[in-house]
């Protein structure tokens, strides 16, 4: 572990300059990221081959080429991981908060010491620009582990004096072994969101990363082998229909955490119901981003921030469940404001995600590409007007088979399917509103309720809108901030439960009540 922490982390691993050069792809000479041809499951603190000996290819969306293999696990491997977790469960659950917090802080330190390496791995596997993984994904993962290390120590049980001689003590106790299913859009950060509170609360976990992005978390596990006690953190890779189902429906887990698509969320809750266990499901969204007329009252830094706020739909190539994918713009400023925004969108630099100047990279998979293309097609069929973009981007050379899609803006109305469905790509649906009432009506005219954005110089208006929008988070004069300590989760069909906050510890704990009588007097019934 000392080696990991003291390993130099200056900007090496680049071609064409230590500060601005393009990072070398994993596994190639000079890369920060070592690569093995094949990865096994991480079970019980060690690397375990899948029982049936099958592997699946992991494709980089940057090039469309497979770059390694990971275990194609089956339900037998799920059982092995659960065995390891159950073996570790008692000791970890009884480990003092001091020690548990220390382990989480060590995880954070190791991730922090390896930010460039993990950022490159994440970018290569997911297609997201390395400037985002360097500045957001990986540092936020660090902070989440530190936050929960602190949060678990400051979480106190409550004591109630029922009457003079009767006291109710409430203790938090670990659930035991939990299952956690991670999405592909922020493979390491979403894993941190789930693993940190589960471990902090004293649980052992079996984690299934998403099928398109199983590898970067295995790179993280390589760093954590000697840090996390064996069996506390287990990672198995494979198809959702096989191991996702086997994990979520297992009678050996005490909770299932899932981030993903809404219908699958329903399936997860159905599996949880079979075993009468709780679930936390963070699901889809179609978040409105509302720009009131007063944002253009001055041509200043705030206006600049608001323009960027609209363009944030292209953050992580739109593969964000809170993507601000519906822009609602006050009719009176629409032409001028949109002109400024389109000008900014034109300046988005697309290309190799490992180039630190690239702003938008590759969609995670060919499936996502197809979906985006079919949505643009249906948007145009419905009469939407394409203001910019709309097509797949083809590059020459190594990127030729990568999955690149232009930042796209479609203008239309809120009943169109492109306004109602999560496209999960860099496609913005834009419409206008006349007044506050209409802005609110359009904002809430959606099945989803995960995120929303409100932009105005009027604090009272911002407050009214924020309280009236049916969404779990309303970013006010900002967007896409994900700090630890701010609760995150959905209204409506965007999910059940909250992450990112100390309250998550309660969602990963049982409440034990000791009801104690300090009186010697019988009740007198018998």
């Amino acid at each position: 572990m000392t080696d990991i922490l003291t390993k130099p982390t200056q900007d090496t691993g680049r071609e064409g300059g230590a500060e601005t050069g393009v990072f070398v792809a994993p596994g190639r000479p000079g890369s920060l990221v070592s690569l093995k041809p094949r990865y096994q499951n991480f079970i019980g603190g060690t690397w375990v081959a899948p029982v049936k000996g099958e592997y699946m290819k992991d494709v980089s969306p940057v090039t469309g080429e497979a770059f390694c293999e990971v275990a194609r696990s089956t339900k037998e491997d799920v059982e092995l991981a659960l065995d390891a977790a159950h073996r570790a469960r008692k000791e970890w659950g009884e480990t003092s908060l001091t020690e548990r917090a220390a382990v989480l802080n060590k995880i954070a330190d190791i991730i922090e010491a390896n930010i460039p390496m993990l950022a490159v791995a994440e970018s290569w596997e997911n297609g997201k620009p390395v400037r985002e993984t360097l500045a957001a994904d990986i540092p936020l993962a660090v902070d989440h582990f530190r936050y929960f290390a602190g949060a678990t120590r400051s979480l106190e049980g409550r004591t109630s004096e029922i009457d003079k001689d009767t006291v109710a003590y409430h203790f938090h106790e670990p659930l035991g072994v939990v299952g956690q299913i991670i999405p592909f859009n922020f493979p390491l950060l979403m894993a941190a969101w789930k693993i940190a509170p589960a471990l902090a609360a004293g649980n052992c976990t079996v984690v299934k990363p998403a099928s398109p992005t199983p590898w970067s978390i295995l790179k993280l596990a390589e760093l954590l082998e000697d840090v996390v006690p064996a069996g506390v953190l287990n990672i198995i890779t494979g198809p959702g229909a096989e191991i996702g189902k086997a994990l979520a429906s297992s009678p050996r887990i005490a909770k299932i955490g899932f981030t993903g698509e809404t219908t699958t969320g329903r399936l997860i809750m159905q599996y949880a119901a079979e075993n009468l266990i709780p679930s936390t499901v963070e699901l889809g969204g179609k978040s409105p981003n509302i720009f009131f007329a007063d944002v253009m009252n001055a041509d200043d830094e705030f206006l600049d921030k608001a323009i960027e706020g609209l363009v944030l739909y292209a953050f992580n190539k739109g593969e964000v469940c809170t993507c601000p994918s519906r822009a609602l713009i006050a009719e009176s400023i629409y032409d001028k404001f949109m002109e400024r925004c389109l000008d900014r969108i034109k300046k988005i630099k697309q290309g190799n995600p490992l180039d630190p100047t690239t702003m938008i990279g590759a969609q995670v998979s060919t499936q996502q590409m197809e979906k985006i293309t079919s949505y643009v097609d249906i948007g145009l069929q419905e009469g939407a007007q394409c203001l910019i973009g709309g097509s797949r981007v083809r590059y020459d050379g190594e990127l030729a088979d990568g999955y690149y899609f232009e930042p796209t803006v479609l203008k239309g109305h809120n009943k169109m399917r492109v306004f109602q469905e999560e496209i999960f790509g860099p496609v913005l649906a834009v419409t206008t509103f006349k007044d506050e009432a209409e802005a609110l009506e359009i904002a809430n005219d959606t099945l989803y309720g995960l995120g929303a954005g409100v932009w105005t110089r009027d604090g009272n208006l911002a407050y009214r809108m924020g309280r009236s929008i049916q969404a779990g988070r309303v970013w006010t004069n900002c967007y896409h901030l994900y700090p630890a300590g701010a609760a995150f989760g959905g209204y409506k069909i965007s999910g059940v439960g909250r992450e990112n906050h100390q309250m998550m510890l309660e969602h990963y704990s049982q409440t034990k009540n000791l009801l104690v009588s300090y009186s010697t007097k019988p009740l007198g019934f018998f």
């Binding site: 099928s211 981030t259 698509e261 699958t264 998979s365 060919t366 399917r417 999960f424």
Partner: protein, 124 residues
């Protein structure tokens, strides 16, 4: 009065029908549920019959090769002006759905109904 015949709300390409027949031969009867939102959103999810519990408010859009195809009632309201076309594409499914044969998955393409079709659907 007999208007034009209402169009199907969900149809399938020949390749999709063939894939379903292959699945049924391998796994027994299957069912579809149209997903919505987030990562695998908007993909048609294929399950063994009965794997996904259908609720009392889900809408049966139609049947494909004898297999039922459902959608959430709220999503139905947002989608009902379009016809869904079940197709097969390369690559394994990313989520909990069964694939459409080896290294393939099901996808949905959509077509907006024309006015005559919408009228026929309304009176059907």
């Amino acid at each position: 009065m007999n208007g034009p015949r209402a169009p199907e709300r969900v149809v399938a390409t020949a390749a999709a029908v063939k894939a379903i027949e292959g699945l049924v031969a391998e796994h027994g009867p299957v069912m579809f549920f149209q997903s919505g939102g987030c990562c695998d959103g908007s993909l048609p999810l294929c399950f063994g019959e009965g794997e996904f519990v259908i609720g009392s408010h889900d809408v049966l859009l139609g049947t494909i090769a004898g297999c039922p195809f459902y959608i959430d009632h709220r999503q139905y309201e947002a989608w009902k002006h379009t016809q869904l076309i079940l197709e097969v594409a390369d690559g394994e499914p990313e989520g909990f759905s069964l694939g459409a044969g080896r290294d393939h998955h099901f996808v949905i393409k959509s077509r907006v109904f024309d006015q005559d079709e919408l009228d026929a659907l309304r009176t059907a």
